[in-house]
Amino acid sequence: MHIPDGFLSHGVNAATFVVSVGACAYGVKRVNRNFGEREVPLMGVTAAFIFAAQMINFPVAGGTSGHFLGALFSSVLLGPWASLLVMTIVVVVQCLGFADGGLTAIGSNIFNMGVIGALGGYCVFIFLHTLLQKSRKGFFVALAISSWFSIVMGASAAAIELAISGTSPLKVALPAMAGIHGIIGIGEAIITTTAVSLILKTRPDLVIGYTEKGASHKKAV
C-alpha cells in the first residue's frame, strides 16, 4: 500500500502531511502522558515485528500479493496513539532505508496506514467491541473485522488521494484498490487474530485493548 513518488499531487501530499504531523504531535503527547517504563520496549518490539512481517508478501488471487499492515495489531497492543507513532517510524524507515514508498508521498503513506489504519481501525474496533458481547469471542470477532476494515479503509483513502491528484478516476481506483485489499484484509485479519491470541495466551497483560468486560477502554490509550 506504499505509494511511490510521482503518483500524488503536491497539494494532496502537503495536506496529508500536515494532518499526519498534527496527529503525530498529539500522539506524542498522549504517549508521553500514559506510557510507563514497560510500554517503551514493547513499542520497539512491536515496530520491529511489524517491519519484519511487512516484508512477507503472501500471494492473493490473480498474480497479486499482499502483506501484513499491522496497524490494528499494534493499536490493540499499545493503544491507537502509540500505534500511530509505530506506523510512522516503520513508514519513514521503509522510505529512507529501503526505497519503499516515496519521500514526497510520505505524508500520504503515514495518513493511510497510520491515521486511517491505526486510529480509524481502532475506532471501528472500539465500536464493534462495545457492540458485540463483551467476551473473549466478541473481542476476537471485533479484532478480525476491524483489522479487515483498517486495510480496506487505508486502501480506499489511497484511492481517493489518487483520484484527487488526477492520477486515476475514483470510479476506477476505488473499486480496484478496495477490491484487492478486501482480499488482503482477510489475510490481515487471520494474522492479527493469530498473533494477538498467541500473545494473550502467554502475556495477557501486554494486550491493553483486551478487557473481559470490554467497556473500560479509558485505559487503552
Binding site: M1, I3, D5, G6, F7, H10, A14, V28, K29, V31, N32, F35, E37, E39, V40, P41, M43, G44, V45, T46, A47, A48, F49, F51, A52, A53, M55, I56, N57, F58, P59, V60, G62, G63, T64, S65, G66, H67, L85, V86, I89, V90, C95, L96, G97, F98, A99, G102, L103, T104, A158, L162, G166, T167, S168, A173, A176, M177, I180, H181
Partner: protein
C-alpha cells in the same frame, strides 16, 4: 521472534506485485512514478544488500538489519517521548499563541523565498545583497548576484526595489550574462499580530523586464503579482509564515501562476536562527511536471547589531524546479 521472521521467511515472500502495484499496473498509471524518485540514496533499495550476490541471503540480511534498526529507533523514540515533560508538550500544541513576545527580530527575508508580514521600520533602510548558484535539469548552471533596497515608508508600509546580474552557463548553447529583471515591491500590513491573531500583510510586486529577452535571460514582458502573507510567532522562538499569491504573467502562451509557500523560523540563540520552507507554483495548465515545487533549509546569524549573514540550500522536488540552489547573502539595516 521478529528477527526470525525477517531472517527465514522474508526471502520466500511472494514476488508478485503487491495490491497497490497491481492496481497501478492494471489501471494504467504505474508509469507515472517512473523516474520521479526523489530519494535515491536508500542504502537497501528494494530490500537487498548491493554487495551480497545471493538474492535470498541478501533479502534476509537486509530484513535483519532493518528489523534491528527499527527496534532501536522505536525504542529510542519511546524513551525520548517519555523524557519530554508533558506540560511543555501541551503548551506547545494547544496554547503556543497565548504567549506573545515581541523579542523576535523583525527579520525573516533572506535566505527564504517566503515573505514575512513584517515591514521595515519607518525611516529605516534595509539593504540585502545575495549570491545564488543553481543547477537546472542536471546540466544548466546559473550564477546570480543580486541587490535589494527596501525603505520603511510608514510604520506599516515599505517599498523595495531589487535587481541582479545573471551569468548563465547552459551545457548546450552559448554562455550569456546580463542584467536580471528588476522587481518593485510595495508591502502594507493590514493587521498587527496580537494574542492568537496572526499578522496579515498584502504585497504587490511589479516585474520590469530589464533582463535581455534575446539572450534568453528574461521574458521581456512585465508581470504583476499580488501576495497575501500571514505571520504568527509561537512563543519566543518560533515564527511561521504563510504566503498565497497570484501572478499575472505578461508573456504570451504562459499561464498565470498561483504561488504558495510556508516557512518556519526557529531561533537557536538570540543571534542565530534556522529556517525552512516549501515553495510551489501552480501554473493551471494541467501538466503537473511544469509546476515547480521545492524545499529550502537555511540559517542566518547576526554578525553585528544591524548586519545579518545568511545561507541556504534549496532542493527541487519537481522537474520544473532547479535541482538545487545554493544561496548566501548579507542584510544590512541603516538609517540615513
Amino acid at each position: 521472534m521478529a528477527l526470525l521472521i525477517a531472517l527465514f521467511l522474508s526471502p520466500f515472500a511472494s514476488p508478485s506485485p503487491d495490491g497497490f502495484e497491481k492496481v497501478a499496473e492494471t489501471k494504467g498509471f504505474s508509469e507515472k512514478g517512473e523516474g520521479r524518485t526523489f530519494w535515491k540514496v536508500a542504502p537497501f533499495s528494494d530490500y537487498t544488500l548491493p554487495w551480497v550476490k545471493n538474492e535470498k541471503v541478501s533479502t534476509a540480511l537486509s530484513g535483519l538489519i532493518g528489523t534491528l534498526a527499527i527496534f532501536l529507533i522505536a525504542l529510542g523514540a519511546g524513551k525520548l517521548i517519555k523524557k519530554i515533560p508533558t506540560k511543555k508538550i501541551i503548551l506547545f500544541i494547544f496554547f503556543p499563541s497565548l504567549i506573545f513576545f515581541s523579542s523576535m527580530p523583525a527579520h525573516a527575508a533572506r535566505p527564504l523565498t517566503t515573505d514575512d508580514a513584517w515591514t521595515v521600520e519607518k525611516g529605516e533602510f534595509q539593504l540585502e545583497a545575495g549570491s545564488d548558484a543553481l543547477r537546472q535539469d542536471s546540466r544548466d548552471k546559473e550564477y546570480s548576484p543580486s541587490l535589494t533596497l527596501t525603505y520603511g515608508l510608514l510604520e506599516r508600509m515599505d517599498l523595495g526595489i531589487g535587481s541582479g546580474y545573471v551569468f548563465s552557463h547552459p551545457k548546450e548553447g552559448e554562455r550569456e550574462n546580463g542584467m536580471a529583471d528588476t522587481e518593485i515591491k510595495l508591502k502594507y500590513r493590514w493587521i498587527d499580530e496580537r494574542n492568537w491573531r496572526p499578522a496579515f500583510t498584502v504585497s504587490g510586486t511589479l516585474k520590469i523586464p530589464t533582463a535581455s529577452e534575446s539572450k534568453g535571460l528574461g521574458s521581456g514582458q512585465t508581470d504583476f503579482g499580488i501576495n497575501a502573507i500571514l505571520t504568527k510567532t509561537l512563543g519566543k522562538k518560533w515564527a511561521v509564515h504563510l504566503n498565497l499569491g497570484y501572478t499575472f504573467i505578461g508573456e504570451d502562451h504562459v499561464n498565470n501562476g498561483l504561488n504558495y509557500s510556508m516557512a518556519v523560523q526557529f531561533l537557536l540563540t538570540e543571534k542565530w536562527a534556522l529556517v525552512g520552507e516549501v515553495v510551489g507554483v501552480n501554473n493551471f495548465n494541467g501538466r503537473h511536471g511544469d509546476d515547480p515545487f521545492s524545499g529550502l533549509i537555511g540559517t542566518y546569524y547576526s554578525i553585528a547589531a544591524k548586519i545579518i549573514w545568511d545561507a541556504g540550500v534549496e532542493i527541487g522536488m519537481s522537474k520544473a524546479a532547479p535541482d538545487f540552489r545554493l544561496t548566501t547573502g548579507l542584510t544590512w539595516f541603516f538609517e540615513p
